[in-house]
């Protein structure tokens, strides 16, 4: 481990870390923005859910590298080329969780809400979505952590955040171990930090949920 290299390259490492955060969080935000309405529509019209699930599953099955390469021809050498595939992966994870979350609303609760005079929109916003939060957040955790790990592949295009430490500063510099190790440690630390933050947000949003083991 060459600590001198690490201390000498702190600005670079910081910049790559920032890029990594950006590249993994932006797709989650986009994925959430698309999967929320999509999941809600799918739970209202179950006939749609099958086809949507099929499409997102197929997307999820496409190897990420292939998708990067394919998009390279469309969007060019740009961060968009990394963000789009990751957003699609996030979407395919989150749609399921949004639908499961809507389905987790007990029938009695929905019946009581309608019976007390909640219209459809009010019921969605004030009753169903809040109750769906734990499952939506669970999906967000999975998507965020997997994004943090997958961003590195973008390094092959030159947009990989900490992944650059594996390619440009690692493999291409004769397998420079210090850079590779730094990248691995920081990626893992970032994933753990992101997970902790999301769990914290979830607890703030759901003071009403029983706190079981393993949470």
């Amino acid at each position: 481990m060459n600590w001198e290299w690490v201390t000498g390259h702190l600005p670079l490492i910081g910049q790559l870390l920032g890029e990594h955060v950006f590249l993994s969080v932006l797709p989650v935000v986009i994925g959430l923005a698309v999967s929320l309405p999509l999941g809600i529509v799918c739970s209202r019209y179950p006939a749609l859910y099958g086809p949507v699930l099929l499409l997102t599953s197929v997307l999820y099955a496409v190897p990420s590298l292939a998708l990067f390469v394919f998009l390279l021809g469309v969007t060019g050498l740009h961060t968009t080329t990394v963000v789009i595939p990751l957003a699609l992966y996030t979407l395919s994870v989150l749609v399921r969780n949004v639908v499961d979350g809507m389905r987790s609303v007990p029938d009695a609760v929905r019946d009581a809400a309608v019976g007390m005079g909640f219209g459809p929109l009010r019921r969605l916003v004030q009753v169903e979505l809040p109750i769906a939060v734990p499952l939506i957040m669970a999906g967000t955790r999975v998507a965020t952590v997997s994004n943090i790990s997958m961003v590195s592949i973008g390094a092959l295009l030159g947009f990989g955040g900490l992944g650059q430490l594996f390619t440009t500063y690692g493999i291409q510099l004769n397998f420079f171990l210090t850079a590779i190790l730094t990248g691995v440690v920081l990626t893992v630390a970032l994933a753990v930090a992101a997970d902790t933050i999301i769990v914290g947000i979830q607890r703030l949003l759901t003071p009403w949920a029983p706190r079981g083991a393993g949470r």
């Binding site: 009695a108 019946d111 009581a112 019976g115 005079g117 909640f118 009753v127 003071p207 009403w208 949920a209």
Partner: protein, 375 residues
């Protein structure tokens, strides 16, 4: 808001697959009374209830509240005027107990502060301490959840309450408590209540009027509990009411005409000769009372009337308030085979043997039949 009357006019609910859930239902649920819909599963009782607040729409016929067709009003607005309580309570898990109760007032546009203030009052009304208001539903017992469900339905003071098996999911002891408190509450609030249950005992206990439904959505009989037990319209109703229909009828017969005997009521100053005379008359027991005439217990006429040796009086009856069922129970629980009658303050009025009570039963039944024949 005033209690309202609910009228079913030729209401039929038929599903697209041809199943008839309710067939040609004509029924009036009178103002300020509890109408119980009872029947086996699949008899259309819940369907009928859910058509009142338009959770379901009738295929034919109409439902009126105070003469106005429920379909004239927007469904959501209509529902806010009808308290709704269901079996699983259906509390919002993400809201505190207090905010659950405040739900309908807030839908009606009452400020959060005002809604919470009245919600706290409602909690008290259903027998919950105010501290529970800060909890979330998962922290409550089943019985407490049902109470919150009732409080939530009452919060906006609706003229009508629709209750779909509200006490069916709790254990029998809690159910008994909830039923008693519900009746006490209704004495105060006098809402027009439609109450669905599959439990005949619950129907008889709570209903001012009972509507018995049969499979296929037919209304078979509508009557007061007394008349239902006394004169079931057909075999189906008789079977549904169950085997001890006769005994349960005693609940509706007053005990104020039971002949009472004071001769076996003694206090500690009783002369030994009197006890002996009682024994000679075939009375093995005398009822020992204190100076305030409250019952101490049964003492054998063969011995000394000592409080220490007295057998406890397990149950008494108040002729001014209790039914013949209570009187008979009191007699059956007594070692002497005699019921102990007390006044409102618990002072002993006298005792009555099984035979005296049964004679009163015969008289009361004959009397109620005369009343029925005359009406």
């Amino acid at each position: 808001m005033w209690p309202a009357m609910i009228t079913f006019e030729h209401v039929t609910k038929r599903y697209p697959d041809g199943t008839v859930a309710v067939e040609d239902l004509d029924l009036v649920c009178p103002t300020g009374q509890i109408t119980v819909f009872v029947g086996p599963s699949g008899c259309g009782k819940t369907t009928s209830l859910r058509m009142i607040n338009r959770l379901l729409e009738p295929t034919e016929g109409r439902i009126l509240v105070d003469g106005n067709d429920v379909r004239e009003r927007d469904a959501s607005v209509l529902r806010r005027d009808m308290g709704y309580v269901i079996q699983q309570a259906g509390l919002f898990p993400h809201r505190t107990v207090l905010d659950n109760v405040a739900t309908v007032p807030m839908l009606l546009g009452v400020s959060r502060k005002e809604a919470r203030r009245s919600a706290a009052e409602q909690l008290e009304r259903v027998g919950l301490v105010p501290e529970l208001g800060k909890r979330y539903p998962y922290q409550l017992s089943g019985g407490q959840q049902q109470r919150v469900g009732v409080a939530r339905a009452l919060a906006a003071d609706p003229p009508i309450m629709l209750m779909d098996e509200p006490f069916s999911a709790v254990d029998p002891v809690v159910r008994g408590d909830l039923q008693r408190e519900f009746l006490r509450l209704q004495d105060d609030i006098g809402k027009t209540i439609v109450f669905v249950t599959h439990d005949v005992d619950e129907a008889v206990k709570l209903g001012d009027q009972i509507a018995v439904f049969a499979t296929g959505g037919h209304l078979v009989q509508v009557d007061t509990p007394e008349r239902l037990l006394a004169a079931p319209a057909n075999e189906f109703v008789a079977d549904f009411l169950g085997g001890d229909r006769g005994i349960r009828r005693l609940t509706f017969l007053a005990s104020d005409r039971v002949g009472l005997d004071e001769s076996d009521v003694v206090d500690s100053t009783v002369a030994p000769g009197l006890l002996e005379a009682l024994g000679d008359a075939g009375r093995d027991w005398a009822l020992l009372v204190g100076a305030d005439r409250h019952a101490v217990g049964w003492v054998p006429t063969s011995g000394v009337p000592a409080a220490a040796a007295a057998r406890p009086v397990e149950r008494t009856f108040n002729p001014a308030a209790d039914s013949l069922r209570v009187a008979l129970d009191s007699a059956l629980l007594s070692p002497a085979g005699r019921a102990v009658a007390v006044d409102d303050d618990g002072r002993v009025l006298g005792t009555a043997a099984h035979a005296d009570i049964l004679r009163a039963v015969t008289d009361e039944v004959a009397r109620s039949q005369r009343v029925e024949a005359a009406s």
